[in-house]
Protein backbone atom coordinates (compact mmCIF):
# COMPACT_ATOMS: atom_id res chain seq x y z
CA UNK A 1 0.00 0.00 0.00
CA UNK A 2 1.77 3.13 -1.16
CA UNK A 3 1.44 5.85 1.47
CA UNK A 4 -2.03 7.11 2.15
CA UNK A 5 -5.44 5.90 1.06
CA UNK A 6 -6.51 9.53 0.76
CA UNK A 7 -3.99 12.25 0.17
CA UNK A 8 -5.67 15.61 -0.45
CA UNK A 9 -3.66 18.82 -0.61
CA UNK A 10 -5.59 22.06 -0.65
CA UNK A 11 -8.48 20.88 -2.81
CA UNK A 12 -11.11 23.45 -3.77
CA UNK A 13 -14.46 23.50 -5.52
CA UNK A 14 -16.69 26.42 -6.41
CA UNK A 15 -20.26 26.40 -7.70
CA UNK A 16 -20.59 29.80 -9.34
CA UNK A 17 -19.54 32.26 -6.68
CA UNK A 18 -20.05 29.82 -3.81
CA UNK A 19 -16.93 28.14 -2.54
CA UNK A 20 -18.29 24.77 -1.42
CA UNK A 21 -14.87 23.31 -0.63
CA UNK A 22 -12.21 25.85 0.25
CA UNK A 23 -8.77 24.35 0.60
CA UNK A 24 -9.20 20.97 2.24
CA UNK A 25 -6.11 18.94 3.09
CA UNK A 26 -6.58 15.46 4.45
CA UNK A 27 -4.54 12.32 4.81
CA UNK A 28 -6.02 8.98 5.77
CA UNK A 29 -3.94 5.85 6.33
CA UNK A 30 -4.90 2.28 5.44
CA UNK A 31 -7.12 0.71 8.11
CA UNK A 32 -8.07 4.05 9.57
CA UNK A 33 -11.61 5.34 10.06
CA UNK A 34 -12.04 9.05 9.51
CA UNK A 35 -15.27 10.92 10.23
CA UNK A 36 -16.24 14.26 8.75
CA UNK A 37 -18.65 16.23 10.93
CA UNK A 38 -20.21 19.48 9.89
CA UNK A 39 -23.51 21.35 9.67
CA UNK A 40 -25.61 21.16 6.50
CA UNK A 41 -23.94 22.96 3.62
CA UNK A 42 -20.48 22.62 5.15
CA UNK A 43 -19.13 20.93 2.01
CA UNK A 44 -19.01 17.31 3.19
CA UNK A 45 -20.85 15.79 0.23
CA UNK A 46 -18.90 17.86 -2.26
CA UNK A 47 -15.63 16.68 -0.68
CA UNK A 48 -16.80 13.06 -0.88
CA UNK A 49 -17.89 13.41 -4.49
CA UNK A 50 -14.45 14.73 -5.33
CA UNK A 51 -12.95 11.52 -3.97
CA UNK A 52 -14.84 9.35 -6.46
CA UNK A 53 -14.61 11.79 -9.32
CA UNK A 54 -18.26 12.90 -9.59
CA UNK A 55 -17.07 16.43 -8.82
CA UNK A 56 -13.80 17.68 -10.26
CA UNK A 57 -11.61 19.90 -8.12
CA UNK A 58 -10.75 23.41 -9.28
CA UNK A 59 -7.42 23.47 -7.45
CA UNK A 60 -5.15 21.36 -5.29
CA UNK A 61 -3.94 17.78 -5.62
CA UNK A 62 -5.99 14.69 -4.81
CA UNK A 63 -4.76 11.13 -4.76
CA UNK A 64 -6.84 8.15 -3.65
CA UNK A 65 -5.40 4.65 -3.22
CA UNK A 66 -2.17 5.99 -4.65
CA UNK A 67 -3.68 7.22 -7.90
CA UNK A 68 -4.49 10.67 -9.24
CA UNK A 69 -8.26 11.22 -9.22
CA UNK A 70 -8.19 13.65 -12.15
CA UNK A 71 -6.85 11.03 -14.56
CA UNK A 72 -7.42 7.60 -12.98
CA UNK A 73 -10.77 7.89 -11.32
CA UNK A 74 -12.11 4.75 -12.99
CA UNK A 75 -9.30 2.58 -11.65
CA UNK A 76 -9.73 4.07 -8.19
CA UNK A 77 -13.43 3.28 -8.23
CA UNK A 78 -12.65 -0.34 -9.04
CA UNK A 79 -11.19 -0.67 -5.51
CA UNK A 80 -13.51 1.64 -3.65
CA UNK A 81 -17.09 1.34 -2.38
CA UNK A 82 -19.38 4.37 -2.27
CA UNK A 83 -22.59 4.85 -0.29
CA UNK A 84 -23.99 8.16 -1.46
CA UNK A 85 -26.18 10.46 0.60
CA UNK A 86 -29.01 10.23 -1.94
CA UNK A 87 -30.68 6.89 -2.62
CA UNK A 88 -29.19 5.52 -5.85
CA UNK A 89 -30.58 1.98 -5.71
CA UNK A 90 -32.10 0.75 -8.96
CA UNK A 91 -35.85 0.88 -8.33
CA UNK A 92 -36.58 -1.04 -11.53
CA UNK A 93 -34.80 -4.14 -10.23
CA UNK A 94 -35.21 -6.51 -7.29
CA UNK A 95 -32.76 -6.73 -4.38
CA UNK A 96 -30.87 -9.65 -5.93
CA UNK A 97 -30.85 -8.10 -9.40
CA UNK A 98 -29.53 -4.85 -7.94
CA UNK A 99 -26.55 -6.69 -6.55
CA UNK A 100 -25.61 -8.95 -9.44
CA UNK A 101 -26.11 -6.23 -12.04
CA UNK A 102 -23.91 -3.91 -9.98
CA UNK A 103 -21.31 -6.66 -9.64
CA UNK A 104 -21.27 -6.69 -13.44
CA UNK A 105 -20.12 -3.07 -13.45
CA UNK A 106 -17.01 -4.36 -11.67
CA UNK A 107 -16.64 -7.07 -14.32
CA UNK A 108 -17.71 -9.78 -11.88
CA UNK A 109 -19.91 -12.39 -13.53
CA UNK A 110 -23.36 -13.22 -12.19
CA UNK A 111 -22.24 -16.69 -11.20
CA UNK A 112 -19.10 -15.48 -9.44
CA UNK A 113 -21.07 -12.86 -7.51
CA UNK A 114 -23.60 -15.30 -6.09
CA UNK A 115 -21.75 -16.41 -2.97
CA UNK A 116 -20.67 -12.85 -2.22
CA UNK A 117 -24.29 -11.71 -2.50
CA UNK A 118 -25.43 -14.45 -0.13
CA UNK A 119 -22.77 -13.43 2.36
CA UNK A 120 -23.59 -9.71 2.12
CA UNK A 121 -27.34 -10.17 2.42
CA UNK A 122 -26.77 -12.28 5.55
CA UNK A 123 -24.31 -9.73 6.91
CA UNK A 124 -26.80 -6.91 6.40
CA UNK A 125 -29.79 -8.98 7.60
CA UNK A 126 -31.57 -8.77 4.27
CA UNK A 127 -31.56 -12.43 3.30
CA UNK A 128 -35.35 -12.82 3.24
CA UNK A 129 -35.64 -9.73 0.99
CA UNK A 130 -33.76 -11.47 -1.83
CA UNK A 131 -36.58 -11.20 -4.37
CA UNK A 132 -38.23 -8.02 -3.10
CA UNK A 133 -38.81 -4.90 -5.12
CA UNK A 134 -36.88 -1.88 -3.85
CA UNK A 135 -40.03 0.12 -3.20
CA UNK A 136 -41.21 -2.44 -0.63
CA UNK A 137 -38.08 -1.94 1.53
CA UNK A 138 -38.01 0.34 4.58
CA UNK A 139 -35.54 3.21 4.79
CA UNK A 140 -33.22 1.17 6.98
CA UNK A 141 -33.28 -1.80 4.60
CA UNK A 142 -32.48 0.46 1.64
CA UNK A 143 -29.48 1.88 3.47
CA UNK A 144 -28.27 -1.61 4.33
CA UNK A 145 -28.71 -2.75 0.75
CA UNK A 146 -26.80 0.32 -0.35
CA UNK A 147 -23.93 -0.66 1.92
CA UNK A 148 -24.08 -4.27 0.68
CA UNK A 149 -23.90 -3.01 -2.89
CA UNK A 150 -20.86 -0.86 -2.08
CA UNK A 151 -19.13 -3.95 -0.67
CA UNK A 152 -19.90 -6.25 -3.59
CA UNK A 153 -16.36 -6.17 -5.03
CA UNK A 154 -14.55 -6.43 -1.67
CA UNK A 155 -13.22 -2.88 -1.78
CA UNK A 156 -10.16 -1.70 0.14
CA UNK A 157 -11.79 1.55 0.98
CA UNK A 158 -15.38 2.47 1.81
CA UNK A 159 -16.92 5.94 1.69
CA UNK A 160 -20.28 6.61 3.33
CA UNK A 161 -22.13 9.92 3.17
CA UNK A 162 -24.53 10.16 6.13
CA UNK A 163 -25.18 6.39 6.29
CA UNK A 164 -27.52 6.63 9.29
CA UNK A 165 -29.41 9.88 8.69
CA UNK A 166 -33.17 9.39 8.82
CA UNK A 167 -33.04 5.85 10.24
CA UNK A 168 -34.87 4.71 13.36
CA UNK A 169 -32.68 3.87 16.38
CA UNK A 170 -32.72 0.10 15.75
CA UNK A 171 -31.67 0.46 12.15
CA UNK A 172 -29.06 3.03 13.08
CA UNK A 173 -27.48 0.80 15.68
CA UNK A 174 -27.35 -2.12 13.27
CA UNK A 175 -25.57 0.01 10.66
CA UNK A 176 -23.02 1.32 13.17
CA UNK A 177 -22.39 -2.16 14.46
CA UNK A 178 -21.75 -3.48 10.97
CA UNK A 179 -19.46 -0.59 10.18
CA UNK A 180 -17.46 -1.32 13.33
CA UNK A 181 -17.16 -4.93 12.21
CA UNK A 182 -15.90 -3.88 8.80
CA UNK A 183 -13.40 -1.59 10.43
CA UNK A 184 -12.11 -4.38 12.64
CA UNK A 185 -11.63 -6.46 9.49
CA UNK A 186 -9.19 -3.79 8.34
CA UNK A 187 -11.31 -1.81 5.89
CA UNK A 188 -10.38 1.85 5.53
CA UNK A 189 -13.49 3.98 6.07
CA UNK A 190 -14.38 7.60 5.47
CA UNK A 191 -17.82 8.73 6.59
CA UNK A 192 -19.85 11.82 7.29
CA UNK A 193 -22.48 11.92 10.00
CA UNK A 194 -24.49 14.08 12.34
CA UNK A 195 -24.38 11.43 15.09
CA UNK A 196 -21.55 12.65 17.27
CA UNK A 197 -21.47 9.84 19.79
CA UNK A 198 -21.25 7.13 17.19
CA UNK A 199 -18.57 9.06 15.35
CA UNK A 200 -16.63 9.53 18.60
CA UNK A 201 -16.81 5.80 19.31
CA UNK A 202 -15.94 4.51 15.91
CA UNK A 203 -13.62 7.03 14.26
CA UNK A 204 -9.89 7.08 14.93
CA UNK A 205 -9.91 10.67 13.83
CA UNK A 206 -12.58 13.20 13.02
CA UNK A 207 -12.54 16.49 11.19
CA UNK A 208 -15.01 19.25 11.90
CA UNK A 209 -15.91 21.06 8.72
CA UNK A 210 -17.67 24.35 8.15
CA UNK A 211 -17.67 26.79 5.26
CA UNK A 212 -15.74 24.33 3.10
CA UNK A 213 -12.81 24.06 5.51
CA UNK A 214 -11.68 21.82 8.34
CA UNK A 215 -11.81 23.86 11.52
CA UNK A 216 -10.19 21.12 13.53
CA UNK A 217 -8.96 17.59 13.01
CA UNK A 218 -7.68 14.85 15.29
CA UNK A 219 -8.69 11.96 17.57
CA UNK A 220 -12.12 12.77 19.05
CA UNK A 221 -11.26 12.25 22.73
CA UNK A 222 -8.11 14.36 22.50
CA UNK A 223 -9.95 17.16 20.70
CA UNK A 224 -12.72 17.26 23.28
CA UNK A 225 -10.21 17.24 26.13
CA UNK A 226 -8.11 20.00 24.65
CA UNK A 227 -10.79 22.29 23.30
CA UNK A 228 -13.68 21.79 25.70
CA UNK A 229 -12.49 20.16 28.87
CA UNK A 230 -13.50 17.11 30.90
CA UNK A 231 -16.78 18.17 32.32
CA UNK A 232 -19.75 20.35 31.56
CA UNK A 233 -22.12 21.93 34.07
CA UNK A 234 -25.50 22.97 32.71
CA UNK A 235 -27.52 25.49 34.73
CA UNK A 236 -31.06 26.02 33.53
CA UNK A 237 -33.32 28.93 34.38
CA UNK A 238 -32.04 32.43 35.03
CA UNK A 239 -28.50 32.81 36.35
CA UNK A 240 -27.59 35.75 38.56
CA UNK A 241 -24.95 38.32 37.56
CA UNK A 242 -23.41 37.73 40.91
CA UNK A 243 -22.80 34.05 40.17
CA UNK A 244 -21.39 34.85 36.72
CA UNK A 245 -18.97 37.37 38.19
CA UNK A 246 -17.88 34.97 40.88
CA UNK A 247 -16.75 32.43 38.25
CA UNK A 248 -13.90 34.67 37.08
CA UNK A 249 -11.25 33.03 39.19
CA UNK A 250 -12.25 29.42 38.46
CA UNK A 251 -10.77 27.12 35.75
CA UNK A 252 -13.96 27.20 33.67
CA UNK A 253 -15.17 28.73 30.44
CA UNK A 254 -18.72 30.05 30.62
CA UNK A 255 -21.20 30.24 27.75
CA UNK A 256 -24.78 31.54 27.99
CA UNK A 257 -27.25 30.17 25.45
CA UNK A 258 -30.81 31.48 25.85
CA UNK A 259 -31.67 30.56 29.44
CA UNK A 260 -28.91 27.99 29.92
CA UNK A 261 -25.46 28.59 31.34
CA UNK A 262 -22.79 26.11 30.23
CA UNK A 263 -19.63 25.84 32.26
CA UNK A 264 -16.84 23.91 30.57
CA UNK A 265 -14.28 22.84 33.10
CA UNK A 266 -10.85 21.30 32.78
CA UNK A 267 -10.69 20.17 36.29
CA UNK A 268 -14.04 19.96 37.93
CA UNK A 269 -12.65 20.14 41.42
CA UNK A 270 -14.04 23.11 43.21
CA UNK A 271 -16.66 24.03 40.63
CA UNK A 272 -19.41 22.02 42.20
CA UNK A 273 -18.61 23.33 45.67
CA UNK A 274 -18.53 26.83 44.29
CA UNK A 275 -21.97 26.48 42.71
CA UNK A 276 -23.45 25.03 45.86
CA UNK A 277 -21.95 27.74 48.02
CA UNK A 278 -23.75 30.25 45.76
CA UNK A 279 -27.02 28.49 46.55
CA UNK A 280 -27.14 26.86 43.08
CA UNK A 281 -28.24 23.28 43.63
CA UNK A 282 -30.13 22.68 40.46
CA UNK A 283 -27.54 21.85 37.80
CA UNK A 284 -26.51 19.01 35.54
CA UNK A 285 -22.97 17.74 35.66
CA UNK A 286 -21.81 15.50 32.79
CA UNK A 287 -18.69 14.59 30.83
CA UNK A 288 -17.80 16.83 27.89
CA UNK A 289 -18.75 15.39 24.50
CA UNK A 290 -17.97 15.82 20.86
CA UNK A 291 -21.29 17.61 20.50
CA UNK A 292 -20.11 20.32 22.90
CA UNK A 293 -17.03 20.77 20.77
CA UNK A 294 -19.05 20.76 17.58
CA UNK A 295 -21.50 23.39 18.78
CA UNK A 296 -18.79 25.60 20.20
CA UNK A 297 -16.88 25.51 16.93
CA UNK A 298 -19.70 25.84 14.45
CA UNK A 299 -22.06 28.01 16.50
CA UNK A 300 -25.64 27.36 17.44
CA UNK A 301 -27.64 29.11 14.76
CA UNK A 302 -29.65 26.99 12.33
CA UNK A 303 -28.11 26.26 8.92
CA UNK A 304 -30.94 25.29 6.62
Amino acid sequence: MPGFVIDAQGIEKSFGTLKAVDGVSLQVKAGECFGILGPNGAGKTTTIKMLHGAVQSDAGALRVLGRDVATQSRLIRAQMGVVSQEDTLDRDLTVYENLWVYAGFFSISKKASLSRIEYLLDFMQLREKWDSQIKTLSGGMKRRLHIARALIHEPKFLILDEPTTGLDPQARHLVWQRLRELKSQGLTILLTTHYMEEAAQMCDRIGIMDGGKFLLEGPPQTLVQEKVGDEVYELRGGVSEELLDSLQGLPVTAEVVADILYLYSHNGLGVMEHLISYGQKDFLRRPATLEDLFLRLTGRELRD
Binding site: F15, K49, H52, G53, A54, V55, Q56, T71, Q72, S73, R74, L75, R77, A78, V82, S84, E86, D87, T88, L89, D90, R91, D92, L93, E97, V101, Y102, G104, F105, F106, S107, A150
Partner: protein, 257 residues
Protein backbone atom coordinates in the same frame (compact mmCIF):
# COMPACT_ATOMS: atom_id res chain seq x y z
CA UNK B 1 -5.38 8.71 -20.39
CA UNK B 2 -6.34 10.99 -23.24
CA UNK B 3 -10.12 10.55 -22.99
CA UNK B 4 -10.92 9.47 -19.43
CA UNK B 5 -14.65 9.23 -20.22
CA UNK B 6 -14.30 7.26 -23.47
CA UNK B 7 -16.61 4.25 -24.04
CA UNK B 8 -15.33 0.69 -23.81
CA UNK B 9 -16.53 -2.94 -23.91
CA UNK B 10 -17.97 -2.33 -20.42
CA UNK B 11 -20.92 -0.64 -22.16
CA UNK B 12 -22.22 -4.20 -22.46
CA UNK B 13 -22.77 -4.30 -18.67
CA UNK B 14 -24.96 -1.23 -18.90
CA UNK B 15 -26.92 -2.87 -21.71
CA UNK B 16 -27.40 -5.94 -19.48
CA UNK B 17 -28.91 -3.76 -16.74
CA UNK B 18 -31.54 -2.48 -19.15
CA UNK B 19 -32.23 -5.98 -20.42
CA UNK B 20 -32.82 -7.26 -16.88
CA UNK B 21 -35.44 -4.56 -16.38
CA UNK B 22 -36.98 -5.28 -19.80
CA UNK B 23 -37.52 -8.94 -18.84
CA UNK B 24 -40.24 -7.82 -16.45
CA UNK B 25 -42.53 -6.30 -19.08
CA UNK B 26 -41.52 -7.32 -22.60
CA UNK B 27 -44.53 -9.51 -23.39
CA UNK B 28 -46.98 -6.70 -22.80
CA UNK B 29 -44.83 -4.42 -24.93
CA UNK B 30 -44.69 -6.90 -27.81
CA UNK B 31 -48.45 -7.37 -27.79
CA UNK B 32 -48.96 -3.61 -27.81
CA UNK B 33 -46.42 -3.16 -30.60
CA UNK B 34 -48.05 -5.76 -32.82
CA UNK B 35 -51.50 -4.24 -32.39
CA UNK B 36 -50.23 -0.76 -33.13
CA UNK B 37 -48.30 -1.87 -36.19
CA UNK B 38 -51.32 -3.62 -37.67
CA UNK B 39 -53.42 -0.53 -37.02
CA UNK B 40 -50.98 1.75 -38.83
CA UNK B 41 -50.70 -0.56 -41.79
CA UNK B 42 -54.43 -1.05 -42.14
CA UNK B 43 -55.33 2.61 -41.59
CA UNK B 44 -52.71 4.07 -43.90
CA UNK B 45 -51.74 1.27 -46.26
CA UNK B 46 -55.26 0.07 -47.00
CA UNK B 47 -57.53 2.88 -45.73
CA UNK B 48 -55.74 5.89 -47.12
CA UNK B 49 -54.12 3.70 -49.75
CA UNK B 50 -57.44 3.27 -51.62
CA UNK B 51 -57.18 6.92 -52.68
CA UNK B 52 -53.56 6.67 -53.78
CA UNK B 53 -52.71 5.52 -57.31
CA UNK B 54 -49.95 2.94 -57.59
CA UNK B 55 -46.48 4.49 -57.20
CA UNK B 56 -43.95 3.27 -59.79
CA UNK B 57 -46.00 0.13 -60.15
CA UNK B 58 -46.17 -0.75 -56.44
CA UNK B 59 -49.14 -0.51 -54.13
CA UNK B 60 -49.29 2.19 -51.48
CA UNK B 61 -49.24 -0.40 -48.70
CA UNK B 62 -46.04 -1.82 -50.08
CA UNK B 63 -44.60 1.66 -50.51
CA UNK B 64 -45.09 2.65 -46.88
CA UNK B 65 -44.12 -0.77 -45.46
CA UNK B 66 -40.37 -0.04 -45.29
CA UNK B 67 -41.17 3.56 -44.35
CA UNK B 68 -43.09 2.26 -41.33
CA UNK B 69 -40.21 -0.02 -40.32
CA UNK B 70 -37.80 2.91 -40.45
CA UNK B 71 -40.09 5.20 -38.50
CA UNK B 72 -40.83 2.58 -35.84
CA UNK B 73 -37.07 2.36 -35.28
CA UNK B 74 -36.83 6.13 -35.05
CA UNK B 75 -39.79 6.57 -32.70
CA UNK B 76 -38.79 3.74 -30.38
CA UNK B 77 -35.17 4.88 -30.17
CA UNK B 78 -36.33 8.42 -29.56
CA UNK B 79 -38.80 7.59 -26.79
CA UNK B 80 -36.30 5.40 -24.98
CA UNK B 81 -33.48 7.94 -25.25
CA UNK B 82 -35.62 10.89 -24.14
CA UNK B 83 -38.30 9.93 -21.62
CA UNK B 84 -36.51 6.70 -20.65
CA UNK B 85 -32.98 8.10 -20.42
CA UNK B 86 -34.14 11.30 -18.70
CA UNK B 87 -35.72 9.23 -15.99
CA UNK B 88 -32.55 7.13 -15.62
CA UNK B 89 -30.26 10.16 -15.63
CA UNK B 90 -32.18 12.77 -13.68
CA UNK B 91 -34.88 11.08 -11.63
CA UNK B 92 -33.74 7.60 -10.69
CA UNK B 93 -30.00 8.45 -10.33
CA UNK B 94 -29.10 5.31 -12.26
CA UNK B 95 -26.30 7.02 -14.18
CA UNK B 96 -25.00 8.39 -10.90
CA UNK B 97 -24.86 4.93 -9.33
CA UNK B 98 -23.03 3.60 -12.40
CA UNK B 99 -20.47 6.38 -12.07
CA UNK B 100 -19.75 5.23 -8.52
CA UNK B 101 -18.68 1.90 -10.08
CA UNK B 102 -15.74 1.69 -12.49
CA UNK B 103 -17.68 2.78 -15.57
CA UNK B 104 -17.04 5.90 -17.64
CA UNK B 105 -19.65 8.31 -18.98
CA UNK B 106 -18.81 6.87 -22.40
CA UNK B 107 -19.64 3.34 -21.20
CA UNK B 108 -22.99 4.52 -19.87
CA UNK B 109 -23.86 6.51 -22.98
CA UNK B 110 -22.88 3.73 -25.38
CA UNK B 111 -24.64 1.09 -23.28
CA UNK B 112 -27.78 3.20 -23.24
CA UNK B 113 -27.67 3.80 -27.00
CA UNK B 114 -27.15 0.12 -27.72
CA UNK B 115 -30.10 -0.62 -25.49
CA UNK B 116 -32.33 1.97 -27.17
CA UNK B 117 -31.35 0.54 -30.53
CA UNK B 118 -32.01 -3.04 -29.40
CA UNK B 119 -35.49 -2.13 -28.27
CA UNK B 120 -36.11 -0.20 -31.49
CA UNK B 121 -34.92 -3.18 -33.49
CA UNK B 122 -37.40 -5.44 -31.74
CA UNK B 123 -40.18 -3.00 -32.67
CA UNK B 124 -39.10 -2.90 -36.31
CA UNK B 125 -38.74 -6.66 -36.46
CA UNK B 126 -42.32 -7.02 -35.26
CA UNK B 127 -43.31 -4.59 -38.02
CA UNK B 128 -41.47 -6.77 -40.55
CA UNK B 129 -43.43 -9.76 -39.26
CA UNK B 130 -46.71 -7.88 -39.74
CA UNK B 131 -45.72 -6.78 -43.23
CA UNK B 132 -44.82 -10.29 -44.28
CA UNK B 133 -48.12 -11.61 -42.88
CA UNK B 134 -49.85 -9.15 -45.20
CA UNK B 135 -47.71 -10.45 -48.07
CA UNK B 136 -46.02 -7.10 -48.73
CA UNK B 137 -42.39 -8.11 -48.61
CA UNK B 138 -41.00 -8.01 -52.16
CA UNK B 139 -37.53 -9.46 -51.57
CA UNK B 140 -35.83 -11.67 -49.02
CA UNK B 141 -33.25 -8.90 -48.81
CA UNK B 142 -35.80 -7.19 -46.55
CA UNK B 143 -34.10 -8.98 -43.63
CA UNK B 144 -30.93 -7.03 -44.44
CA UNK B 145 -32.80 -3.88 -43.46
CA UNK B 146 -32.52 -4.84 -39.80
CA UNK B 147 -28.81 -4.08 -39.33
CA UNK B 148 -29.33 -0.79 -41.15
CA UNK B 149 -32.19 0.02 -38.78
CA UNK B 150 -29.93 -0.78 -35.84
CA UNK B 151 -27.46 1.86 -36.99
CA UNK B 152 -30.32 4.27 -37.63
CA UNK B 153 -31.67 3.63 -34.14
CA UNK B 154 -28.28 4.22 -32.51
CA UNK B 155 -28.15 7.50 -34.40
CA UNK B 156 -31.58 8.65 -33.22
CA UNK B 157 -30.92 7.45 -29.71
CA UNK B 158 -27.75 9.55 -29.67
CA UNK B 159 -29.72 12.55 -30.93
CA UNK B 160 -32.37 11.90 -28.28
CA UNK B 161 -29.70 11.65 -25.60
CA UNK B 162 -28.35 15.02 -26.72
CA UNK B 163 -31.84 16.44 -26.16
CA UNK B 164 -32.00 14.66 -22.79
CA UNK B 165 -28.71 16.14 -21.63
CA UNK B 166 -30.01 19.61 -22.50
CA UNK B 167 -33.47 19.10 -20.97
CA UNK B 168 -34.40 20.55 -17.60
CA UNK B 169 -37.75 18.78 -17.44
CA UNK B 170 -39.90 16.36 -19.43
CA UNK B 171 -41.69 19.27 -21.10
CA UNK B 172 -38.56 20.04 -23.13
CA UNK B 173 -39.31 16.89 -25.10
CA UNK B 174 -42.55 18.39 -26.44
CA UNK B 175 -40.37 20.93 -28.18
CA UNK B 176 -37.87 18.31 -29.33
CA UNK B 177 -40.60 16.11 -30.78
CA UNK B 178 -42.41 18.86 -32.66
CA UNK B 179 -39.31 20.69 -33.87
CA UNK B 180 -37.10 17.75 -34.81
CA UNK B 181 -38.75 14.36 -34.80
CA UNK B 182 -42.10 15.14 -36.41
CA UNK B 183 -40.69 17.10 -39.41
CA UNK B 184 -38.14 14.34 -39.89
CA UNK B 185 -40.90 11.75 -39.90
CA UNK B 186 -42.94 13.61 -42.52
CA UNK B 187 -40.20 14.85 -44.84
CA UNK B 188 -38.02 11.76 -45.13
CA UNK B 189 -40.24 10.03 -47.65
CA UNK B 190 -41.75 7.60 -45.17
CA UNK B 191 -45.43 8.13 -46.04
CA UNK B 192 -45.24 9.90 -49.41
CA UNK B 193 -42.57 10.38 -52.09
CA UNK B 194 -40.59 13.60 -51.92
CA UNK B 195 -39.91 13.71 -55.66
CA UNK B 196 -42.06 16.39 -57.31
CA UNK B 197 -42.42 18.54 -54.20
CA UNK B 198 -40.88 22.07 -54.29
CA UNK B 199 -37.12 22.02 -54.72
CA UNK B 200 -36.35 23.35 -51.23
CA UNK B 201 -38.33 20.50 -49.70
CA UNK B 202 -36.35 18.02 -51.78
CA UNK B 203 -33.09 19.62 -50.64
CA UNK B 204 -34.19 19.62 -46.99
CA UNK B 205 -35.24 16.01 -47.24
CA UNK B 206 -31.87 15.07 -48.70
CA UNK B 207 -30.18 16.54 -45.59
CA UNK B 208 -32.29 14.56 -43.11
CA UNK B 209 -30.59 11.43 -41.77
CA UNK B 210 -33.90 9.55 -41.76
CA UNK B 211 -34.25 9.96 -45.55
CA UNK B 212 -31.15 7.86 -46.12
CA UNK B 213 -32.41 5.07 -43.90
CA UNK B 214 -35.68 5.15 -45.86
CA UNK B 215 -33.92 4.93 -49.23
CA UNK B 216 -31.86 1.91 -48.20
CA UNK B 217 -34.82 0.14 -46.62
CA UNK B 218 -37.23 0.74 -49.48
CA UNK B 219 -34.70 -0.51 -52.01
CA UNK B 220 -33.99 -3.69 -50.04
CA UNK B 221 -37.62 -4.30 -49.15
CA UNK B 222 -39.12 -4.04 -52.61
CA UNK B 223 -36.31 -4.73 -55.09
CA UNK B 224 -33.46 -6.24 -53.07
CA UNK B 225 -31.24 -3.54 -54.51
CA UNK B 226 -30.20 -0.03 -53.37
CA UNK B 227 -28.90 2.73 -55.57
CA UNK B 228 -26.00 4.72 -54.06
CA UNK B 229 -25.92 2.33 -51.11
CA UNK B 230 -22.45 3.39 -49.92
CA UNK B 231 -23.41 7.06 -49.95
CA UNK B 232 -26.55 6.52 -47.90
CA UNK B 233 -24.75 4.25 -45.43
CA UNK B 234 -21.86 6.71 -45.00
CA UNK B 235 -24.38 9.45 -44.33
CA UNK B 236 -25.98 7.35 -41.57
CA UNK B 237 -22.66 6.27 -40.06
CA UNK B 238 -21.27 9.80 -40.17
CA UNK B 239 -24.21 11.24 -38.27
CA UNK B 240 -24.21 8.33 -35.84
CA UNK B 241 -20.58 8.98 -34.95
CA UNK B 242 -21.14 12.73 -34.70
CA UNK B 243 -24.19 12.44 -32.45
CA UNK B 244 -22.51 9.79 -30.29
CA UNK B 245 -19.51 12.05 -29.67
CA UNK B 246 -21.66 15.08 -28.88
CA UNK B 247 -23.85 12.97 -26.57
CA UNK B 248 -20.77 11.74 -24.64
CA UNK B 249 -19.50 15.30 -24.18
CA UNK B 250 -22.86 16.71 -23.11
CA UNK B 251 -23.71 13.88 -20.73
CA UNK B 252 -20.23 14.25 -19.18
CA UNK B 253 -20.97 17.90 -18.56
CA UNK B 254 -24.23 16.92 -16.91
CA UNK B 255 -22.85 14.13 -14.74
CA UNK B 256 -19.41 15.40 -13.70
CA UNK B 257 -19.50 18.82 -12.09
Amino acid sequence: MLFPQAPSHRAFRVWVRHLVYYRSFYLAEWAGNLGEHILWLVAFGYGLGRLVPSLDGISYAQFIGPGLMVSVAMWNATYESTYGAYSRMRIQNIYESMLMAPLTVGDIVLGDLLWCASRALIGSTLMLVVLSLFGLVGSLWAVAILPILFIEAVMFAALGLIATSLAHSFSFFNFYFSAIVMPMFFFAGTLFPIKGLPLWVERLSEALPLTHAVRISRGLFIYGYVENFIWHLSFLLGFTFLFLTVACVLVSRRMVE
